[in-house]
Symmetry: C2
Subunit: 316 residues, 2 copies
């Protein structure tokens, strides 16, 4: 799957992933009203609204980008009905040829991580039958529980030719509280390094055991809001694809991103969520109006591609 | 809700939570066959099997214990159908008067954690209506993203009078890879302490802002498999309830547990999952047979209560 991702990035010339993270505040009024008319102001009505919203955006941008990243929390907040919309979204995006990165940030003790891995990337045995769950192409994984919380995901990736992105340095303001802590290396030389570097080294090590053609099935999440750390982690994990959240609404700019890429122009894929899916709410794209929100999203994707392309070209 | 938990622990004389973590291997054959006859070897069939399994166990033990802890991964592995079974289980346990701890280990950047908090503990706005999601009483939370991943949960706890247990030192073998790392304190005195102690201090601090009568709404997860760390963390977080996984199948014993409790005999609640729900598969309870699996679970709960009670009494 990492090879397919690289190939699609080359083909679309877009190291871009659109975050399908719909909240009710982002869904235009006319879509909400239509869904509520059918299902009432219920979680089912909300789920219908976010599904219709997603579908229109995907239809408008699928030819421009390699991948989407639905954030499962935005669906899970509506309970089971929301998760039905998540599943429909995953399936629809795959039908459209998009690679789906499930932003699920799961991670638990070994036997439990195995269940998550199976549910999101693999198949589960029921009697003598193997059944699929959510069946994304990639999933994000939280490493706080250590290797035995991550390895079950890697095992399923090897079996199913899928991939993961391990949280290394997240984009949020307080990510440093634990991730930046200086920890002593265990080789007795007394050196101290931030925790995220050690997690980055683990990612490189796990990845060496499951390589695609040029990149590994084990990638990393590093926030656009921390470009300096991005540069360091790029060196520590040369074969890991870096999923970069935090562009746009969270404050990351194109020029911040160049350090996340390798010299081959590959190695990173940049996510934008609100900046794309709610482009119509921004002054810059207000002319489209709420009715044409999907066209505004398309324009925002094109602008993002240009911003990143220019930044990479300027690097030379 | 923390006050209700304390009250129920006192009433049942059982600082015990039963982990409803059903995998197909634990569900007796006759229940599987009945479910497959109705729904086939599908995720719906699996979901029906685990729901019937859960229901029988809850019916057999609900009068003995204060709380249950369904591990959502075991449901999520079956996709949407599994999550429907999760929701039915949560609702049924609440009807039976049990407190429900959703073992979801969620945690993300602020706006995303807010969606998880709403989906699991709160209510979500749909139009002008507030709707419930999974609606557990407590949830477990992963702190790797720092305060802004935890605070949205605390806000919902304050609004809804619910609670969380933050992962501090998990029960699995590799939990030390990140959690035990020695990190330098930031006050410049050069002291080094394991990461889990710093997370424990955060738990104490967060908890001071939302206190019940004698314990805080913000608890902690500390594995039974690490009794020495339990003792240290007990001192660091005197007002936090400690949820203790790892008893039984993972290797923790009653005598390991005493350090997790305060002098008042309160302050900790011990989880057992496989040891209770699949008791019928153990030699000790084999006499019940697979048909009477729920009776075996009841016997195992009684034995666990006695084991913990004796350990606490021996401490004096």
């Amino acid at each position: 799957m990492i090879d397919r991702l690289v190939e699609k990035i080359k083909k679309t010339q877009a190291p871009v992933v659109v975050g399908l993270d719909p909240t009710m505040k982002l869904v235009p009024g006319h879509i909400q009203q239509q869904a509520f008319a059918e299902y009432g102001e219920t979680t089912k009505g909300a789920a219908e609204a976010i599904w219709q919203f997603n579908k229109a955006i995907v239809d408008a941008v699928y030819d421009l980008i390699p991948a989407v990243k639905p954030q499962i929390a935005m669906y899970e907040q509506f309970g089971v009905e929301g998760l039905i919309a998540f599943q429909k979204t995953v399936e629809y995006c795959k039908q459209k040829g998009l690679i789906v990165i499930g932003d699920v940030k799961r991670g638990d003790i070994g036997s439990t991580s195995e269940a998550y891995a199976v549910g999101h990337l693999g198949r589960v045995r029921v009697g003598n039958t193997m059944c699929g769950g959510f069946d994304e192409d990639f999933a994000t994984v939280n490493p706080y529980l250590g290797s035995d919380g991550v390895k079950p995901f890697i095992k399923v990736c090897q079996e199913e030719k899928k991939g993961i992105f391990v949280l290394v340095k997240t984009s949020n303001p307080s990510s440093g509280e634990l991730q930046d802590r200086l920890v002593k290396e265990e080789d007795g030389n007394g050196r101290e390094r931030p925790l995220y570097e050690l997690v980055g080294e683990q990612v490189a090590k796990w990845g060496s055991e499951c390589m695609g053609d040029s990149y590994s099935y084990v990638g990393a999440v590093v926030g656009a809001t921390y470009p300096e750390q991005g540069r360091i982690l790029r060196d520590i994990m040369p074969k890991a694809y870096i999923l970069v959240p935090g562009y746009g609404a969270q404050g990351g700019k194109g020029s911040d991103l160049v350090h996340f890429f390798n010299k081959d122009g590959l190695g990173a894929i940049v996510n934008s969520s609100r900046g794309i899916i709610a482009a119509y709410q921004q002054e810059q794209y207000a002319k489209y109006g709420a009715e044409n929100f999907a066209d505004a999203s398309r324009a925002a994707v094109l602008a993002m591609k240009e911003d990143i392309g220019q930044a990479l070209a300027a690097r030379g």
